[in-house]
């Protein structure tokens, strides 16, 4: 059981939730980046306590090594998270060009006034 990882994951998820719930698109983007990190760490915690184990590079078959599967999954997740981040960045860029705003509340302010 890795207490410090648990607490760290909790803090990261909390911060990500808070930022994603904001109306600023930039903050939502930051929240997303934190969220993907938090998810990576959550999966990583499943590989168990690494104390006294070596990296999963097999030289001596009897050596104690960490679980390689969560790492493989995270590696995929990091890359996909990056793809998503890149997409969000360009979406935000395009949004700003078209709407001249980076805030969801402002973007929908006009429709609100009409009603």
């Amino acid at each position: 059981m890795q207490i410090e990882t648990a607490i760290l994951v909790g803090i990261l998820f909390g911060c990500a939730t808070y930022m994603i719930l904001q109306t600023s698109f930039v903050r939502i983007l930051f929240g997303f980046v934190i969220l993907s990190n938090a998810a990576n760490l959550l999966v990583l915690s499943m590989s168990g306590d690494p104390t006294g184990k070596s990296a999963p590079i097999v030289r001596d078959p009897n050596a104690l090594m960490v679980d390689p599967l969560p790492q493989a999954l995270i590696l995929t997740a990091i890359v996909i998270g990056f793809g998503m981040t890149a997409y969000l960045v360009l979406l935000l860029y395009r949004l700003f060009l078209d709407q001249k705003t980076t805030n969801a509340a402002e973007m929908y302010a006009e429709t609100e006034q009409e009603h």
């Binding site: 990882t5 939730t17 760490l41 915690s45």
Partner: protein, 802 residues
């Protein structure tokens, strides 16, 4: 030729020609009426051929498989009652189409009209000849659809649209009840074929309650179609249809389907106790109410519509009180009604066409201008009132005789029926007199002269034929007697007794004569008072309530929809998070006892990892607290790079490498993005504070999310699996994949397809990015016009509501 050929020919000819007319409308135009007429004549001929080919009285079943596994087949039953109704439908169809050819003005959408009319005719013939309950239901609903098209023919008028909608909603929803009733019958009897049910009968003893419920549903279906109380309101509104449609659908055929259905199911249900009670009480009640409404109306078509409802009430109630052996004079009553009501509707159509007026108070003295129509109307109205020398008289005499018999056999119910019939007859005499006298007699109002144009002779022929039939049948009843005897169906009706004009001085004659006198007195009183008191009470105008109900229903659904949806996407995220948190909280509440480990387990901490974790947490909190975008980004990057270090501490060198690269590129990319935003955008952010409740919600959501995720991690790591699957990879990586780095071999060897999927995701993301970068060039005007407004294809849902 086979009998089945003629039967199919009768039903399929109008169906096929309906489609032909619809498709060939640019070619046919106004000639489509003649095609329709041909089709109707073919149907009449085919049905007559069927009647000649089979032995009457008797029945023949023609069947083709449709869905045999469910017992649903294209099976048709030719017996007395279906031939009788089939002939009415097709013969009146011929007359109505002929009438319509001369009635419809040039320029109206003829093809559309005749196409719908033929579709309706095919559906009607299909309904009356159906031998399968489900097939009957299908045709039944098809008649409703076709009538919707016909009532709404002049869809520019709002009254047409409302009438069409009411008719469709009432008849199709009650039709669904009918379907349920049929299925319930099929459930206990095991068959959907009417002919089989007729021979085997329904298991009334074993499933009495079940079949009583089924009977109620079927009868409700009949009530809806025949506009019986409480569905009486749709028929008068359906009069917005062109007159030929009213004459055809709403007097002679479609509304008779309820009567037909009661006749069809009469042998099945008549032994149930509720059958006579339900039918007699509702139908005879409707009969009286509708007759009174007919007297209280001023619109010619409304008068006829209410009198139709009244007559249908009588016919349905008549089947309700029928004896076990079958009723005796149903054909006479139905045919009588077809004669006079079809004729009267056409007369009213001619009058309205010629004068442009349908309010009876503004008409009068037309006898001089239209003598032939006047005579037609006189005969038809006399038939309706039941004067001697018409089929109406025969019908009324028999009606009274039978109703007196019913008093003996049904006791109180019979008494109720008798009173209803007497009241109805008196009222009917009064409004029959009013229809003839106030249109054709008296002084002609001045306005009529300005508008009047003479109707063509051909237009006057169809009503004249019907009135003549009523007259000839009334003088020479022996003709009908033969036909009726041939058409009897065992269980439904029996051959009628000898019909004569003169029975001698019987009690019926005395009562009948006194009813005529009272009715004429009632008419005289109405004339004296100028019908000022005549108006239908608001409480009985269910159509208003129905329309309010419809509006309220659509408002309620709109309210629910707008209550459950939001036009602003960011309102959905809190819901999603709230749901997620709720889900997690529920999960922990379920496994609360497993959290006991928190007290038992020894708390050992790796200080290096704890230190790095604290730094990461600090950096992320910094990103949260700091105000400016760039400082937030730097703080975020610090957290990201520290995560690399954390990966190293977790013995994951590959992750650390990848994270460093990704983190660097992300930093540069977001930095580039922020560089494109002007300072004003960032300053604008600060002023956009969300509401206090939303702020509180965000904080609570964030904290609970954090706590729950911490608990989740503790829970999954407290008791690791003794032999994780990763060990297999470690053992196999060298022998199978020839690689010592287990993470690499998992990615490219063991789980190679996953990696391919990952690359595909990246390609898709790249294409998406490309799409976002390829923006069309806006014109200078568009730039000056400012932002393009919120996304969403320019649809604003709330606006529609206003």
């Amino acid at each position: 030729m086979e009998l089945s050929f003629y039967l199919y020919l009768a039903i399929l000819t109008p169906l096929i020609l309906s489609a032909v007319i619809a498709l060939a409308s640019p070619v046919l135009k106004e000639k489509s009426g003649w095609v329709a007429l041909l089709s109707a004549i073919i149907s009449v001929g085919s049905i007559l051929m069927v009647a000649f080919k089979m032995e009457l009285p008797g029945s023949v079943v023609v069947s083709t498989e449709w869905i045999p596994s469910l017992g649903i087949n294209f099976s048709f039953l030719a017996d007395g009652i279906s031939l009788f109704f089939g002939l009415i439908v097709s013969v009146i169809g011929v007359l109505v189409i002929f009438y319509a050819i001369h009635y419809l003005d040039r320029g109206t959408r003829h093809a559309r009209f005749y196409s719908s009319l033929l579709l309706f005719m095919a559906a009607m013939l299909g309904t009356v000849f159906s031998n399968n309950l489900i097939l009957l239901f299908c045709f039944w609903e098809l008649t409703g659809l076709a009538s919707f098209l016909l009532i709404g023919f002049e869809f520019q008028d709002s009254s047409s649209r409302i009438g069409a909608r009411q008719a469709l909603l009432v008849t199709s929803s009650t039709g669904l009840l009918l379907l349920v009733g049929f299925i319930m019958v099929a459930q206990v009897s095991g068959s959907m074929e009417i002919s089989e049910l007729l021979t085997s009968g329904l298991p009334l003893e074993e499933h009495k309650g079940w079949l009583t419920a089924a009977m109620c549903l079927v009868v409700l279906g009949a009530f809806g179609k025949s506009a019986q109380f409480p569905f009486h309101f749709w028929l008068p509104n359906a009069m917005a249809a062109p007159t030929p449609v009213s004459a055809y659908l709403h007097s002679a055929t479609m509304v008779k389907l309820g009567v037909f259905l009661c006749a069809r199911v009469f042998p099945f249900f008549m032994e149930l106790e509720l059958w006579p009670q339900l039918l007699a009480i509702v139908a005879f009640g409707t009969m009286v109410i509708a007759a009174i409404f007919a007297l209280l109306s001023h619109d010619l078509k409304a008068i006829l519509a209410y009198s139709t409802i009244s007559q249908l009430g009588f016919l349905i109630g008549y089947y309700g009180l029928g004896p076990v052996t079958g009723v005796e004079y149903d054909y006479l009553h139905i045919l009588n009604h077809v004669f006079f009501k079809g004729s009267l509707f056409m007369v009213v159509g001619i009058v309205a066409h010629a004068t442009g007026e349908r309010d009876i108070r503004k008409l009068g003295g037309l006898m001089k201008r239209m003598p032939l129509v006047g005579i037609t109307c006189l005969v038809a109205a006399a038939t309706m009132a039941g004067f001697p020398g018409t089929t109406g008289f025969l019908s009324k005499e028999m009606m009274l005789k039978e109703i007196f018999d019913a008093m003996g056999s049904h006791g109180l119910l019979g008494l109720y029926a008798t009173i209803c019939v007497i009241v109805m007859s008196v009222v009917k005499v009064a409004f029959s007199a009013r229809i003839f006298m106030n249109i054709f007699m008296g002084k002609e109002p001045d306005e009529i002269g300005h508008h009047y144009h003479a109707p063509s002779f051909a237009l006057q022929v169809p009503p004249l034929i019907l009135a003549a039939c009523a007259f000839i049948g009334g003088v020479l009843p022996i003709i009908m007697e033969k036909a009726f005897a041939l058409l009897t169906v065992p269980g439904i009706n029996i051959a009628p007794g000898h019909l004569v004009i003169w029975h001698g001085f019987t009690p019926e004659l005395v009562i009948s004569t006194s009813m005529v006198i009272v009715g004429l007195v009632l008419y005289w009183v109405g004339q004296k008072t100028n019908w000022r008191w005549a108006d239908i009470p608001k409480t009985f105008r269910f159509d208003f309530a129905f329309e309010y109900g419809l509006v309220a229903f659509s408002k309620a659904t709109k309210l629910i929809t707008s209550g459950l949806s939001s036009d602003r996407p960011m309102n959905y995220l809190p819901m999603i998070f709230a749901f997620l948190i709720g889900l997690f909280a529920f999960f922990f509440a379920q496994h609360f006892s497993s959290l006991d480990f928190l007290r038992v387990v020894e708390w050992k901490i790796d200080y290096l990892r704890a230190f790095v974790a604290a730094l990461i947490a600090l950096a992320v909190l910094g990103a949260l607290i700091l105000k400016r975008w760039t400082t937030q980004l730097i703080s975020l990057s610090i957290a990201g790079f520290l995560t690399c270090f954390y990966f190293v501490l977790y013995q994951a060198p590959d992750l650390a490498l990848t994270q460093i690269l990704v983190e660097a590129v992300t930093l540069i990319m977001i930095l580039l993005l922020l560089g494109r935003f002007p300072k004003s955008a960032e300053r604008g952010e600060v002023s956009k504070r969300c509401t206090r409740t939303r702020q509180t919600f965000n904080t609570v959501a964030a904290v609970s999310m954090g706590v729950l995720m911490t608990l989740f991690v503790l829970m999954i790591t407290v008791d690791p699996h003794p032999d994780p699957i990763g060990n297999k990879f470690l053992q196999q990586t060298v022998p199978l994949a020839e690689g010592s780095n287990a993470v690499n071999t998992v990615l490219v060897d063991f789980r190679g397809f996953d990696t391919m999927g990952e690359i595909a995701v990246l390609v898709i993301a790249m294409l998406g990015c490309l799409g976002l970068l390829l923006r069309y060039k806006r014109t200078e005007e568009e730039y000056k016009a400012g932002p393009m407004g919120p996304p969403g294809f320019g649809i604003d849902h709330r606006e529609e509501g206003e």
